[in-house]
């Protein structure tokens, strides 16, 4: 039971990271590999706001959300829009997003140096609760709650709002969206902003949960996030949520039941097994995308 709680806790951060990752892919058919740098930047910005600017954490997290959105706009402008007209825009965007991600990390290093950064010990209240013999910290509850609210909020926005309708129209047929008078550039920018906003919050939540932030913190989760969205079904928001939680649970069980050195073997082995059974991913559709 305690393992389930811990697994959900880690998994909700994976899921939050992955849902932003898969959003850009699902709507725009682009893989944004600067997403991991946004994750790291979210952590550093959160620490900056809480420690240097003296902002309480409940205000720092929404601020990180906004800052992440701005980073998303920058990524779209620098890495994707200039190359949008190319025939290999898919691949070109992939490469240029790696470059923009590297630039973000270089800027973070220029400001903070290479060392690990931490929140002050009293940043987050250290309450613990015992429920049915399971120990849960306030921090864990908060991380899970914030992740869930953001993920459900994103899903509702895509399914019901005016912007979400336009995003789905752009996903299916950008030309038809333009004919209808939708400003496709603006919808594209908004998609990147939403994606990066969630990626940045995932970063600050991760930094809070392990109380440290490193420049390299995005690399590990980038691979996991990629695995999660492939297993969940590329572009599926539900798939990213379920996949992220599943990965968190699998990891915790692998560590406690078999041993920590087996964690990645078990986790990625299971992901491969899922793909062998369902190549399109858990929630992916088999439909061949029309060009």
């Amino acid at each position: 039971m305690q393992q389930i709680v811990n697994g959900v806790f880690t998994g909700s951060i994976y899921a939050l990271f992955a849902i932003g990752f898969t959003l850009v892919f699902g709507i725009l058919h682009r893989l944004n590999l600067a997403h991991s740098a946004v994750f790291a930047a979210g952590a550093f910005i959160g620490i900056e706001l809480a420690e240097n600017a003296g902002m309480p954490i409940w205000l720092a997290i929404p601020s990180v959300l906004v800052a992440g959105g701005v980073l998303g706009l920058v990524i779209e402008r620098l890495a994707f829009r200039p190359l949008g007209g190319r025939h290999d825009a898919h691949f070109a965007g992939l490469i240029s997003s790696i470059a923009v991600g590297a630039m973000f990390l270089a800027l973070l290093q220029a400001r903070y140096g290479p060392d690990t950064r931490r929140f002050a010990p009293d940043t987050f209240p250290q309450h613990r609760y015992d429920v049915l013999g399971v120990s849960v910290s306030l921090l864990q509850l908060t991380v899970v709650a914030v992740s869930l609210v953001l993920m459900v909020g994103l899903s509702v926005l895509v399914a019901r709002s005016r912007l979400g309708r336009a995003m789905r129209a752009v996903a299916e047929n950008p030309h038809a969206a333009r004919v209808l008078g939708i400003n496709v550039d603006r919808v594209t920018a908004a998609t990147f902003a939403l994606s990066s906003a969630l990626g940045a919050v995932a970063g600050v939540l991760f930094a809070l949960s392990v109380n440290s932030a490193q420049l390299s913190m995005g690399f590990n989760i980038e691979l996991k996030g990629l695995a999660v969205i492939i297993v969940g079904g590329m572009g599926s928001l539900k798939g990213a949520m379920v996949g992220g939680l599943a990965l968190g649970l699998i990891e915790v069980f692998a560590v406690t039941q078999i041993g920590s050195s087996w964690r990645d073997v078990i986790a990625f082995g299971l992901l491969i097994a899922i793909l062998l059974v369902r190549p399109q991913g858990l929630f992916g559709s088999r439909k061949v995308r029309e060009v």
């Binding site: 005016r162 309708r165 336009a166 129209a169 047929n173 030309h175 333009r178 004919v179 209808l180 008078g181």
Partner: protein, 240 residues
């Protein structure tokens, strides 16, 4: 016909090129307000390229487009739709995975305040769409999809409607329905520019026509005159 100060559309010396290939080579024409102007010609004559340039979907290389007296050359499509210059695209381009209702709501993108009323109006006008409103647009028949494409353009409240091959791929009976709808749209005061390969049909519906050939205007005149013109009949209409 009309004596408005400025025509609905005034196109001057329009050139559209894709790379080195010129699809439209200096076309000029006028669409009077309230008129129904047909652009006819063979496949590849440049009809669709003209329409896409007017709609802001393709940037013309040179020339100018005036819409209601205002220069709108190279303005993006979303501005033009908001201003009332709306296209019904070739091949209908309904959003197949979205419902009929969502398609109409997207058509009303720029009508934030009266979207619901306009959509209800379309349901009154096209009862088949009302019946199918919760269905995915991809599940509709070709004729129903064409009606949806037209309704979706009309909810935007166009003053000029650009229609690209609305009869393409439809059964003759459905083509009759589509042309009946086009006549209604014009009767209601909307200016229509109609691009068709079905030249005879288009000219019968139109007030004025342009016959295009390799990106230039080969013939023009009142539609009835073109229908009676021996050269036009021989080259484009064939013997009925």
């Amino acid at each position: 016909m009309t004596t408005d100060a400025s025509p609905a559309l005034q196109v001057d010396d329009l050139v559209v090129a894709y790379g080195r290939v010129q699809a439209v080579r200096g076309v000029s024409f006028t669409v009077p307000s309230g008129g129904l102007v047909a652009l006819v010609g063979a496949n590849g004559a440049g009809k669709s390229s003209i329409l896409n340039a007017l709609a802001g979907l393709v940037r013309p290389r040179s020339g100018s487009v005036r819409f209601g007296g205002r220069d709108v050359t190279r303005r993006p499509a979303h501005e033009l739709v908001a201003a009332g210059l709306v296209q019904v695209p070739e091949g209908r381009e309904v959003l197949a995975t979205m419902t009929v209702d969502e398609n109409l709501r997207l058509g009303a993108w720029h009508r934030r305040s009266d979207a619901d009323e306009r959509i209800d109006e379309m349901y009154g006008r096209f009862p088949v769409l009302a019946e199918r409103r919760a269905l995915q647009a991809g599940a509709l028949s070709g004729g129903e999809q064409q009606m949806l494409a037209i309704a979706r353009a009309l909810v935007a409240g166009p003053s000029v409607l650009l229609m690209d091959e609305p009869s393409m791929g439809l059964a003759p009976k459905i083509v009759d329905e589509v042309f009946a709808v086009i006549a209604e749209i014009q009767a209601a005061g909307t200016t229509v520019v109609l691009v068709e390969q079905n030249a005879r049909r288009a000219l019968r519906a139109a007030t004025y026509g342009y016959v295009l050939e390799s990106g230039t205007v080969a013939h023009e005149g009142p539609a009835d005159d073109l229908l009676a013109d021996r050269r036009v009949i021989q080259a484009y209409l064939g013997i009925e």
